[in-house]
Subunit: 331 residues, 3 copies
């Protein structure tokens, strides 16, 4: 904690304070002027944009509906369950309708006349989603069971629902994917990026993922937009299902929307740190991909792939003094 | 921003709205029915489950007690410290007692008669934990010092307490580990998975970790349930201390609770991205494991292990146009 | 869910409760005593320390100013924009002034007399920062455009501002870097570690980063304190720009503040998982570094570097029963 001897307390702070606050209107003017100059970071309010906070709140409410008694309200039992879930479902309906409308309106904002339709559409799509919840719960129950069956550190299904980041990421993905399938823009990606922030697991809502999906630990997992995954697939932390280089059109712009990410068939296990790339790459049913493998070509069904571990060099019994000079990296 | 020309604003939204809301009671019925069908995702309230929110709140209060003046209340000095910490300690005692009771009751919910005992046990275990806080502070002070001594980017101990994710993860781990040692189920894992979410560092509360433990950067670190780590050990980001394949019993079920993760002796440094696997794997005192190393066998004391870096292929002076075709991956 | 048959409900909980609460004053005494013994984890309140919560709040307010209409207030349009941004700017000025003062005072707390000066200095530095916002917005608009141009999964600039963790991390870094350049201690690091927690991307505020910077996915990225990055640089998840071993002085203490991290020139792309280490390492203009590459030496301009992918071993058509014994790792 060094001193800063060059600073002399010669003036009292009070007059300085006033002078500085007087500069604020000018500063604000400059900022507002910059909104005209740099337009692309501002959002006109004529068609209000979705609210990230409301979308996250809706995800919390959906958690309460999917896993009653676990989150939120704690005194839920047979006598009040119906009222409690009824209330939560109404809340999700209202909030989701509004956010879906805003997302749709955001995409069609070039036309002024569509606003009423967007409002109706928001409700329609929200209702369509709510009707899928019983099916979603069946899938998620299978996911939870698959995690339990595959992880000796898991002591109970409750522990998984409560605390497993892999299960949290799958829950949010399955919700977002259904909305993505319904054609809602923006909102599904906001949902999965929220899950990414909370779990370190980055699943694009466009990916297609089968039943009994299991991600263990999960930090650093990336699953790209056009990935297809079958049933009974298990991934560990740091797995990337990515793309090779991107095709561009005649003007040099990226071609968006093509299949760029791999296909993983049923019963595949992919260990930590493995990287599988390319839209033509297909991992056959029952294959096992070893940790840190790097694959850009297909693998047949039932195949086991492991990397030849990089050779290690050993240097025995180095002294404590020498440890400073080993040349390994630190940041 | 394409238009959606197929949508015709022929109807006003209002009647459509009403019709849709009328469907909600039916949707709620279907959801509640699904609770009967998919039981494993619901939680009966007869024995209320621990509250993740209360557990996280208790962690915040413990931070205030461990590091007075840093978090929460800012006007703490000698004159009010005692009152302030007294109040925080009472609060932790009450909250932790309840959450421990709920965790215990969760495990023994097959019997109706144990409820009063669980309440008493919750307070007993909470008190046992609180009495360990002075010892915990001694360990954590050594951890903070070890981080400062090993990181040239650290400008002060204060910076470490305030902002280092490694120190945050170690703090939560040390709290959770003590509760794990006391035999409390569920709660310790909820604590460490909270730390995992906030720091990207995944330490199972069952791991045993010695004094002056240091994790730098830390995103992607995974330390499994039966890992044992000595004193003065330093890890960098992306290090995995994991298990080889899991043994199963005669019925094909996982055997839970066996030693599956490595033992790291005193004074070991493990650089970023290294993977060390298996319950029989032991890294000897003073060893240095290089970045990205992959080890499934033991290493003697004082040994330095580095990987032979994978060979690089260079292709000089490629043009900007060619860069699109390099075949490297993107997602 | 095993029973705990060894616990006998022989006593009612009530008396036990009272007895345990009576121990609390003693426990509190022991904790307060430990503050005298383990001083380095406590913070004396004479010079109050910065508040992490207020700093995060200020970051949220700055987001509102940088990206009006996106976050916070939603009903912003031409008629109220000026008032709204004016209010937010005043709020940031007040909060940032206080937190900067506290950070400065923290560093010069050895002297009692500097307090008034710190207050004035806090306002001066906060004002200096606010005047940079229009320039910051220009840079951030270019960053957002660079992300859009390079990612086929990005559907609009709005999606990037709303949900891309790479863009969030860059925003916080650019704010923190300006305050770091102004010589403010502590506060910039608290900001970037907040971004690290939320995005998994760890950028030290001391790093120097040019225009049109792009990080995709980003989990696990680490950019060290003395890294220098040119314009048009793109990084993928898991890239480390780190240091080799640290020099120590004659007393064995770390030498702090030297250039330890690499220099990346303009137009460089670094794919996922690559590690580039050392203060003398320079990646030349237009170079492309392949995924998982490991570099501790410089690379000339326009060079493409890829690793020879580790050899894979394949074992065909293994049966489901055998999959348990593959020896790959799990945690």
């Amino acid at each position: 904690m060094k001193k800063t001897p060059d600073i002399q307390p010669t003036e009292s702070a009070a007059p300085q304070e006033k002078e500085l606050r007087h500069e604020l209107p000018h500063v604000v003017n400059e900022i507002v002027k910059s909104y005209k100059k740099v337009k692309q970071l501002s959002y006109s309010s004529q068609y209000p944009i979705p609210s990230r906070e409301s979308i996250i709140q809706a995800l919390h409410d959906m958690n309460e509906i999917l896993y009653p008694g676990y989150h939120g309200h704690q005194g839920v039992d047979e006598s009040n369950l119906h009222f409690h879930i009824g209330e939560a479902t109404h809340r999700v309906f209202e909030d989701l309708s509004i956010q879906i409308s805003k997302s749709l309106r955001h995409e069609c904002r070039s036309s002024n006349r569509l606003c009423d339709v967007c409002t109706g559409l928001g409700q329609e799509e929200a209702m369509k989603f709510l009707k899928k919840i019983p099916k979603l719960r069946e899938m998620l129950a299978e996911d939870a069971q698959a995690i339990y069956d595959g992880d000796p550190a898991a002591k109970s299904i409750e522990e998984i629902i409560f605390s497993y980041p892999g299960f949290k990421a799958i829950t949010v993905y399955r919700i977002a994917h259904e909305l993505h399938v319904q054609g809602i823009p923006l909102l599904p990606r906001i949902m999965t990026e929220y899950a990414h922030a909370v779990t370190g697991i980055d699943i694009h809502p466009g990916a297609k993922i089968g039943r009994r999906f299991c991600i263990d630990h999960g930090t650093g997992v990336v699953i790209g937009e056009t990935t297809e995954i079958g049933n009974n697939v298990k991934l560990y932390q740091g797995v990337t299902l990515g793309a090779l280089s991107f095709p561009r059109d005649a003007n040099g712009n990226l071609v968006r929307g093509k299949k760029r990410h791999p296909t993983i068939e049923d019963d595949v296990t992919i260990y930590a740190g493995a990287t599988i790339l390319g839209g033509e790459t297909r991992i056959g049913k029952g294959a096992v991909i070893g940790g840190n493998a790097w694959l850009t070509t297909s693998v047949g069904p039932g195949t086991k792939v492991i990397i030849e571990a990089p050779k290690l060099r050993y240097k025995g019994a180095i002294s404590a003094k020498d440890r400073e000079h080993v040349g390994d990296f630190q940041i």
